[in-house]
């Protein structure tokens, strides 16, 4: 994960801005404005699968208010949503539907995998119908471990996502996926095979750590 903006140019820019703001002149860059607008109004999709969904609902309620961060309305239609919070166990029967919903979301779109089940299958990973993590088919931006994670953990993940959005650059090699023409924004939907989903994972998205056993 990139730690933030780098380069000498940005340092000079920051100094310039600090100087000007001391004199009461507020300046910004297009990039900052763009990122600020995007990060402060991320609208999630109503998508709860299992127990983590209850924690997600609790996060939207009065005590831990997610609306303070701009996730004011949970959109029912993926066409209007920016973020999909995959909360709960993703069964293999449901997996193609999750990928379809993700494909229907317009760019820029983000994925938060909430809870152990969405990251890796969790305690049910040996189940015959459990997908071992939704990052086999769609790229995940933030993972929240926990079973279930506290509402504050979801808020913390939201802040991590906001930091990630803030660090995006609009031009150059590091620009995000939605600004690069050659990168796909829709991913192939797995089919129901005879024994398992076909393909069992999407090789372009799923990069597991190869463990070298001694």
């Amino acid at each position: 994960m990139r730690a933030g903006l780098g380069g000498v140019m940005d340092e000079e820019l920051k100094n310039l801005k600090a100087e000007l703001s001391k004199h009461g002149v507020f300046t910004t860059t297009f990039e900052e404005l763009y990122n600020w607008g995007r990060k402060n109004s991320v609208w999630p999709l109503t998508f709860g699968l299992a127990c983590c969904a209850i924690e997600m609902i609790a996060t939207t309620m009065a005590r831990y208010d997610l609306a303070r961060f701009g996730a004011e309305v949970f959109r029912a239609s993926p066409r209007q949503a920016d973020l999909i919070i995959v909360s709960g166990t993703v069964t293999k029967k449901m997996a193609p539907q999750v990928v379809r919903l993700y494909n229907q979301m317009p760019e820029p779109k983000y994925v938060i995998a909430m809870g152990a089940c969405a990251i890796s299958g969790g305690p049910f990973r040996d189940g015959y119908n459990v997908l071992k993590g939704i990052d086999r088919y769609i790229p995940v931006d933030v993972h929240i471990p926990g079973c279930p994670p506290r509402p504050e953990a979801l808020i913390d993940a939201f802040m991590t996502l906001q930091k990630k959005i803030d660090a995006q650059q609009l031009t150059g090699e590091d620009r995000p996926r939605h600004l690069k023409e050659d990168l796909p924004s829709e991913f192939p939907v797995p089919e129901y095979g005879e024994h398992d989903l076909e393909p069992p994972n999407n090789a372009e998205v799923w990069n597991p750590l190869k463990v070298i056993q001694k």
Binding site: K92, K93, S120, R125, D126, Y128, N129, K132, Y192, G193, E194, H195, D196, P200, N201, W206, P208, L209, V211, Q213
Partner: protein, 202 residues
């Protein structure tokens, strides 16, 4: 006020009296719960079920659960004393005799009476074997709540219920070929399963 709990033998006698020709077996349960079950034969199962539901004393109107059980082919070995010719002399030798017990699938129904507030009465049906003869009569016509339960048994064990209004897979997708809850089900290989690889040592 609850009267004496109904015993499995009483129910067996009642069924055999009401449904002529029905063969009912009592399968004793040696565990502390003591929930003995009745094994019904295929031809008269639906009639016996209807009797259980409609009989004024039993009134078992609520089928709370139906589940499947998979019994694999097993071998029963027992030590038998046999007279054999050993070195010219007839002696008694202990021989280990192995008998093959073919496996089968079972459907187990738990029945309660909401009206009379008694239960459970447990009813079982066994298939012939695990491969070809996997048909059982459906009890959905008697207890509507068995509809989805029998679909689940079909999905996970492969038991085909004759007379079921809508027998298709429930939890797995329709194109799925295996029966996951069978004892010989092998899950698909997951060679990129990180934690699993560590667990099995490689």
């Amino acid at each position: 006020m609850r009267a004496e709990p109904i015993t499995a033998e009483q129910v067996k006698a009642a069924i055999e009296a009401a449904v002529p020709g029905c063969r009912v077996q009592v399968l004793a349960n040696a565990s502390p719960s003591g929930q003995h079950s009745l094994i019904l034969d295929h031809e008269h199962a639906a009639e016996a079920a209807r009797f259980l539901r409609d009989d004024p004393t039993l009134r078992l109107d609520y089928c709370s659960n139906a589940t499947g059980v998979d019994w694999l082919d097993s071998e029963l070995s027992e030590k038998v004393k046999v007279k054999k010719l050993v070195d010219g002399a007839e002696t008694e030798v202990e021989e280990v005799r192995k008998t093959k017990v073919p496996g089968y699938l079972e459907a187990v129904y738990h029945l309660y009476s909401v009206e009379k507030k008694h239960g459970p009465v447990i009813v079982r049906m066994r298939t012939g074997d695990r491969k070809e003869d996997v048909h059982l009569p459906s009890l959905t016509g008697v207890w509507r709540s068995a509809e989805f339960q029998e679909r689940e048994i079909f999905d996970l064990y492969g038991v085909i219920f004759d007379g079921h209004p809508d027998l298709r897979r429930l939890l797995m997708w329709d194109e799925f070929k295996d029966y996951p809850m069978r004892k010989d089900y092998v899950p698909p290989a997951d060679d990129d399963d990180l934690v699993g690889a560590e667990r099995s040592g490689g």
